[in-house]
């Protein structure tokens, strides 16, 4: 249209209809796909063996400002509840002490996952070629910053308002001492950011988010509220509202590579590895946090696992991807076997190493023992009687001079660490599927607990070289390691970690540990 004619038309249009007009987010978003352009160097900085399609769409159609509006509405609700009514009713002091301790770990470890997901989705934003797909990942980058801050807020709130701030107030500094940290880094940190970009997306979105963190986030809210904690549901359910978009991102990633030849060759192997990687840690750790880290139980972990991991994820979610050639992971069956006992095995070790934690652990009470036996027949003979023995030897009492790790040594049950997952296991005393495999490479010994991890290591040992805590601490005395890792409360002598949550129980000090003279040794050296 000629210029002057356009001006006249605008004037006429206005005269006929002066109604206010604005622009909606979707009216802008529909042009997004055309925002990019071709040029020589336009390629990703992170290599992937897959090719992501240029025309991949994204279904949420957000633009920056609309994203901000949506999130800020949710923030107002969430922080309003926390700062107003929950504070007035002193909610943080109406949480069961055992659960207060669990949230030190759950919220901080989830924070690490959220934090690394920022970097992971930054990489995917770089790898995707379609602007809409980039935009979907960008939204997730921002979400993951939100979730990092939200998880931090839980610890911040519990520290400020709650019954035991130690560990909530310094988890980011003390978390690295204990045996759960390195494994957590594998699933929640390096597994999301280090590797083929699509493989990382599979780890993060297709498995981490769709299979574990979403159930984790939802299930956690049920366990929390049963144990008096309304802060966690307030925050975690708000996190969850963003996760739908993240699962969709994972789905779109698969759709974007579905027609690529590489997908038929590698996708199912990558998925199987990612599933095993994630489940190897989450299956035992989540089960342990829920069942051993609570007083009131919602349901046995094995039931939750079967419903969410096996049926919903392995069946329905993966089933939806079937048309793209995606199959249920081959390792799912082995994982299912592990879901019954692995968390009981892990708690035995975690409790034995309690001084290295940044939280207090508790032995199962008689009523809990009954619940375990009812839901996991055979539990008492394997675990219950060991806890009885530890209790009888005074493991909760600082003057006893007894640390349960001594029981493993006395009975010649060495604890190894799986090189690939970094999860500790005790092959001679476990009911789960772990078996000891030892391989040597470049003059160094490596232990493994299962065939799937061993296979990953065999094909690419250079990806899994990380030393484990026993190699790191070898020859060093326990109290020294704790002090160096800042495992003390503000009085400078009482440990953050404790082997009980009894309000009248005595608290262990660094001196109590020093007296025992417990020195770390690397079990691989003894082989």
């Amino acid at each position: 249209m000629a210029i002057s004619a356009a001006t006249k038309a605008a004037t006429d249009a206005l005269a006929a209809n002066p109604a206010p007009v604005s622009v909606g987010a979707q009216e802008v978003h529909r042009w997004m796909q055309s925002f990019t352009w071709d040029f020589d160097k336009n390629r990703t900085k992170y290599s992937t063996k897959y090719k992501m399609a240029n025309d991949t769409k994204e279904q949420f159609k957000l633009i920056a400002k609309e994203y901000a509006r949506m999130e800020s509405v949710k923030d107002e609700r969430q922080f309003g509840s926390l700062q107003d009514v929950l504070t007035r009713v002193d909610a943080a002091n109406r949480v069961h002490p055992k659960w207060n301790e669990s949230m030190k770990v759950i919220s901080n470890f989830l924070e690490v996952g959220e934090y690394n997901a920022i970097a992971a989705t930054g990489m995917l934003w770089d790898s995707a070629t379609a602007p809409e797909q980039k935009n979907g990942y960008l939204g997730q980058v921002l979400d993951e910053i939100r979730h990092t801050n939200q998880c931090g807020y839980i610890n911040y709130y519990f520290a400020k308002q709650g019954q035991d701030a130690a560990g909530h107030n310094d988890a980011r500094r003390t978390r690295a001492i204990g045996p759960l940290w390195k494994g957590m880094k594998r699933v929640f940190s390096d597994g999301f950011i280090s590797g083929d970009a699509v493989e990382c997306s599979i780890n993060l979105q297709l498995v981490g988010e769709a299979c574990f963190t979403n159930p984790l986030i939802v299930a956690v809210t049920e366990w929390a509220s049963a144990n008096g904690d309304e802060m966690t549901p307030t925050v975690f359910l708000s996190i969850e509202t963003d996760e739908l978009r993240h699962m969709a991102n994972g789905y779109q990633t698969v759709v974007s590579i579905a027609n690529d030849e590489a997908a038929s060759k590698y996708l199912n192997t990558d998925l199987n590895n990612a599933f095993w990687t994630q489940q190897k840690y989450f299956t035992p750790v989540l089960g342990m946090m829920f069942e051993y880290g609570s007083h009131f139980k919602v349901e046995p972990w094995v039931k939750t696992w079967n419903r969410w991991v096996y049926e919903d994820w392995g069946g329905i979610w993966i089933g939806r991807l079937g048309k793209y050639g995606v199959e249920s992971p081959r390792s799912l069956r082995d994982a299912k076997k592990d879901a019954y006992w692995a968390h009981h095995d892990l708690f035995l070790i975690a409790y034995a190493l309690w001084p290295t934690g940044f939280f207090r652990l508790s032995l199962p009470t008689p009523e809990e023992a009954e619940w375990y036996e009812a839901n996991y027949p055979g539990w008492y003979d394997m675990y219950g009687k060991v806890y009885d023995e530890w209790r009888a030897r005074g493991c909760e009492d600082p003057s006893s001079g007894f640390l349960p790790i001594q029981w493993f040594i006395e009975n010649n049950h060495p604890i190894y660490i799986d090189r690939v997952s970094q999860v500790p296991f005790c092959p001679s005393y476990c009911k789960g599927e772990s078996t000891l495999r030892v391989l040597e490479f470049n003059g160094k010994k490596h232990s493994f607990s299962d065939q799937w991890g061993e296979r990953m290591w065999l094909s690419e040992p250079e990806r899994y070289e990380c030393q484990n805590i026993f190699e790191q601490y070898e020859g060093r005395e326990l109290s020294e390691v704790i002090a160096e890792g800042f495992g003390l409360r503000s009085d400078g002598k009482t440990l953050i970690s404790q082997p009980h949550t009894n309000k009248d129980g005595k608290l262990w000090t660094l001196d109590d540990i020093k007296k025992i003279n417990c020195v770390f040794s690397d079990p691989l050296k003894a082989l």
Binding site: P20, V28, F35, K65, L138, G195
Partner: protein, 392 residues
């Protein structure tokens, strides 16, 4: 009572459960240190909420300076490249976690501001359209400058936006990572605002094309944005060092080219051509520019440039980077001079003297805020002259 509770019974409100819980809760808190992250060194007097929620979320080992963790990475890239490493940048720091957004914005504060801007944008557009302002825009300005060249400038913002993806992946600190994502989001927001303005105009002015076709053609094939396009492509895709990406984009390219185009061209000229709409959007971009400037000058001047151990080295490196990126930016501006040929000249506003004055302002600002702090010697008059040689 049974320890298995179902049916959604809540410990806070269920009297039976609450009684068990309250009996177990200690009579007084076990720990007197109630402040999270009490151990860290705050930027100000006290650890603020932003620092509490963001600082030390980065799980790097201590061989990446500032990290609190130890040991190796549990999984690496194929071939063994580490998850994060000091080699990802030529810059050196004794603490990669030292950066702070001067506005201390964690996620909630960041989105709250942007949400307000969006709501206000919506209200503004309604009032603007109902008021009939659009009638007063000079038709050449509207159809050619806003339709084509402002649209083309959207690609500049979009390209710079994408340069942040690898920074968000690779950078070595938590506050750096969050800041980089936020200043990146502001850039795509700019590109989207430009498209929003064009879509809005197309609703008010029958025949005004909202399509990105012509702007894209202008951006990819035209002469006015040729230098800018090549510059942006190199920052986005040819640069791997995450600090160099941020430095070239936010310490050289945008404070010169971006500032000139936004502030001295679109913002200053629009009102002369009866356009009160573009300033509304450009002013938001200018707000983002100033917030970003606060962030990146904190990164490069406050942290890296004054690092006790590596400050001198870092400043030297920044000067070397300035040597590399400044000529390309000057060239982008020189190409952009071609735009004055497309608009009716207004004496004292868009004639050569006015353009020169505008360039002098931009270069003087840049020298004061970006060159002087790193001791970069620059003859801005010569640079202005080079740019002006692009005038037809």
């Amino acid at each position: 009572m049974s320890i298995e509770v179902n049916g959604g019974r809540r410990g806070l409100t269920d009297p039976e459960i609450a009684a068990v819980i309250m009996a177990a809760v200690p009579d007084k808190p076990l720990e007197t240190q109630r402040k999270m992250n009490y151990f860290m060194k705050p930027r100000g007097k006290r650890v603020n909420e932003y620092e509490t929620l963001c600082c030390y979320t980065q799980p790097t080992p201590d061989w990446i300076p500032g990290g609190l963790d130890w040991g190796d990475w549990t999984q690496k890239f194929h071939g063994g490249r580490p998850s994060w490493s000091n080699e990802s940048t030529e810059m050196r720091s004794s603490d990669w976690l030292a950066h702070r957004d001067p506005a201390f914005r964690w996620h909630a504060l960041y989105v709250k501001d942007k949400a307000e801007e969006w709501r206000y944008t919506d209200r503004f557009l309604k009032a603007y359209s109902a008021d009939g302002h659009v009638r007063s825009i000079d038709p050449v300005w509207r159809d050619e400058v806003l339709g084509d060249y402002l649209g083309a400038f959207g690609f500049y913002e979009y390209g710079l936006f994408n340069s942040h993806s690898s920074v968000v992946r690779d950078c070595l600190g938590d506050t750096l990572r969050m800041s980089s994502a936020m200043i990146g989001l502001d850039k795509v927001d700019n590109a989207q605002m430009i498209q929003a303005e064009r879509t809005f105009l197309s609703k008010l002015v029958p025949g005004f094309p909202e399509s990105t076709d012509i702007p894209k053609q202008e951006w990819t094939q035209g002469s006015i944005f040729k230098g800018a396009r090549e510059l942006v492509q190199d920052i986005w895709q040819a640069t791997y060092d995450w600090n160099e990406i941020l430095f070239s984009g936010h310490m050289i390219c945008d404070p010169l080219f971006g500032q000139f185009v936004r502030r001295e061209f679109f913002l200053r000229l629009s009102s002369y051509y009866g356009d009160n709409l573009t300033p509304f959007f450009i002013n938001q971009m200018q707000l983002y520019f100033s917030q970003t400037k606060g962030i990146t000058t904190d990164m490069f001047h406050t942290c890296l440039g004054t690092d006790v151990e590596f400050g001198d080295y870092n400043n030297r490196l920044m000067r070397a980077w300035a040597d590399k990126w400044l000529p390309r930016t000057v060239n982008a501006l020189k190409d952009f001079m071609g735009i004055y040929d497309t608009i009716p000249e207004i004496k004292g506003v868009s004639d050569k003297a006015a353009i020169e004055a505008a360039l002098v302002r931009v270069f003087a600002d840049w020298k004061r805020d970006f060159a002087d702090p790193i001791n970069y010697k620059v003859d801005t008059a010569a640079l202005v002259k080079t740019v002006l040689s692009g005038l037809k």
